[in-house]
Symmetry: C2
Subunit: 441 residues, 2 copies
């Protein structure tokens, strides 16, 4: 029995529910859409992550005795609404972009079709999960592009809230990282874990030599020694003297990395340790990784920047009512009118058009009605982007757990290949492909 | 029974533990310190938050069957280490800054005194919690200063991971916010919750008038109507026509706020609704709040910027071994030597020196030994900053739960009064008071 996730909800959602139950609009069929108006930070593409987690959290979105007592004691809603919540089970449908999929401005990342009552109270949970995880995945994908074939490990748990750290490790893995330092991410999501020693290990011992000898004794000569606690040059000499030329690796966690990495590589080679690998871990982001492309670095460990989205800690996605039925049962597209925060009403079907395997646009067919929308005939190569996650309340388990993560990682690697070359540059720019709206038949 | 927090740990901590158990250094008495080398983002002061949460999470830091099975299956540690972990209970002591306290570069925010084995594995959990919560609290305190006497509500859950959102609401409340939209934060930490309606409420109804009438019927005339779904001027007219001049408030969530707020105030006054309050909620941060000081705004709702630390999403605190005993039982101060990431070895006692009630320095007495360090005689007005949280494994419950949060909020309000005036400016600068190190007797 997992703890309830039902109070990960903004109070106004329950207030609206309460009022809608009173005036009878609560049961109007509605379409809510989770999307991003723009790509924050001048990113050229976004990466969707979090929907698999959201599905599991949706299973636990139940109002039990504790939750109901709190809502009653705080007078958040009245008795009729408490009764509705006590029986709440999401019975609608959810479609959306698979984890690892790319997104662009206006992409209908998640679409919730249900009564107003059932859908409106999912806003905060859905946005919390997908905004956070997608911000990390987007930054991680850029880092993964910058790193090329060199392995990347996520080591940023200490710079994120303790549960967000696990989600961040998961999102980074989906977007191309190969491992994480976070053991809970290993247990919960099947992500490979890694790590050897901190400076505290060296400082605990009377000498650096004692620390290195002990680590090799415990972990074998294939381990990675942290060689910058005192003097890097002396540390490298000592490491090879103690471990021999079969030492697996050395880690550098400070200094001007291009210079230091080159010096350490030359020193290792001089000492005959030509196979000893160099891992660097000091304040890396996608730009620092890119600047090390010509340096003799074998692996990167990334902390703060990946878990905080490298300057874009949230994706800025919103959750909006885009269509609803009126009292007569006709569908109506709806949208807020404001110029700075406007959104496009109507149900959407999304396709990525491709020209010889390269993405050319995010094509979004907009419908006033509720009918399913087909891909436009003139784009036979368009790839449909939406998948059914929940059908009439039934959650598809394929997207959950370690299996969902592994599939998402493979999907991301695949769809990233479709990006045009200009999408791979790190500098700020416009989205790599345009979002094109068309009216559905 | 809460879920175990023990795997919120970076793998290298258990790797070091494993090796230290083998070489006998695991049981050396150690002092670990959690501190920040600098105030990120040119902030003039930092605000500590998270220690109360950390204490509760420490209670659940237990390696049960599930955790041990994962570590065994993944070969993270050997059988002897698994046995050590199975019996793990933190039996050392933890002292530190109370939540709500201010901090400056080098402040010993949390000090853990224990064997190497018991302390080293707390690094990630401690940093995750305190780094995140303090980043939010620091941003929130600046917003609270900018808002003056006007109430501030935290509404950013959707822009933070779902559990970090709850922690963020808590941290913002400690630093001066008056309420949160997050219901779980209300339940878990006793924080007042608030919220009325979103644009979806208006869009659900056939007309804005239907939506306003229904909301007033359900929530009374004291409610706050969201008036910018279509046209603000028409929305205000309609709101007063429907609710009368006793309408509690209107909320504006878009537009150029200083201009819009002034226009709405004038319109409300013209309509006779002179007591109807104006709440603004669109992309506010401390600078936007400050720029609205002369505008007729009654309350602020802040989202993204507060939960993401307003440009500084993590506090950059580190957890370092600063002193340990050698094999003979003598205390030795230890520190990494690197120039860019150096730290100061030795056990610390911290005091805020005051001159007629105004802080003048962060005075840190450094000791090689393990003796408790007294305040320096020449500063009789110095306020001791460290409190005992855990004594020989016994966690002081006064810092936990809603009571701890409420005390922390009061403490913050109190100590903020000690800040010199220059600390209250929002622009980037140096820390408001210098950190001064002295050798303890």
């Amino acid at each position: 029995m997992h703890p309830s996730t039902a109070l990960h909800t903004d109070r106004y959602e329950l207030t609206m529910l309460d009022a809608a139950l009173k005036d009878g609009t609560a049961h109007r069929p509605c379409v809510f859409e989770l999307f991003s108006r723009r790509l924050s930070g001048g990113r050229r593409f976004g990466v969707v992550a979090g929907t698999g987690r959201l599905l599991s959290l949706l299973r636990d979105f139940r109002f039990g005795d504790d939750e109901l007592r709190f809502l009653r004691d705080e007078r958040v809603v009245d008795a009729a609404t408490l009764e509705f919540l006590a029986g709440y089970r999401f019975s609608g449908s959810i479609t959306g972009y698979r984890e690892g999929e790319l997104y662009f401005p206006g992409s209908p990342i998640v679409t919730v079709e249900s009564s107003f009552a059932e859908g409106v109270i999912l806003e905060t949970l859905a946005l919390s999960v997908v905004n956070h995880d997608s911000a990390v995945a987007t930054a991680a994908s850029r880092m993964s592009i910058a790193a090329g074939d060199r392995p990347l490990a996520e080591m940023g748990s200490r710079r994120a809230g303790e549960e967000s750290a696990v989600a961040a490790a998961r999102a980074a893995f989906i977007a191309g990282f190969g491992a994480t330092s976070n053991l809970e991410a290993g247990r919960s999501w099947g992500i490979p874990t890694m790590g050897t020693a901190a400076h505290a290990w060296t400082l605990l011992h009377d000498t650096e030599e004692d620390a290195f000898r002990s680590q090799i004794q415990a972990l074998g000569v294939g381990t990675t020694l942290l060689i910058d606690t005192y003097d890097i040059r002396a540390g490298v000499n000592l490491a090879i003297r103690v471990a021999g030329t079969d030492l697996g690796g050395v880690r550098i966690d400070s200094g001007d990395l291009p210079i230091v990495a080159a010096a350490v590589r030359a020193q290792l080679d001089d000492l005959g340790a030509t196979n000893t690998k160099i891992t660097v871990t000091s304040d890396l982001d996608e730009y620092a990784i890119a600047s090390l492309a010509a340096s003799p670095v074998d692996a990167y460990g990334v902390g703060t920047s990946v878990v905080t989205g490298s300057g874009v800690p949230t994706s800025g996605m919103v959750f909006k009512l885009v269509a609803r039925q009126d009292a007569a049962g006709s569908w109506i597209s709806v949208a807020k009118a404001s110029t700075d925060k406007g959104s496009k009403g109507g149900r959407k079907a999304a396709f990525r058009t491709l020209d010889r395997g390269t993405a050319t646009s995010e094509l979004i067919a907009v419908s006033d009605g509720f009918e399913s929308v087909d891909g436009p005939d003139e784009h036979p190569r368009a790839r449909a982007l939406q998948t059914a996650f929940v059908t009439a309340g039934d959650i598809d388990t394929a997207f959950e757990g370690a299996g969902g993560v592994s599939a998402a990682r493979a999907h991301h690697a695949h769809v990233r290949e479709e990006l045009p070359v200009r999408a791979l540059a790190l500098s700020r720019s416009d989205p790599a492909i345009p979002t094109v709206y068309v009216d559905a038949e």
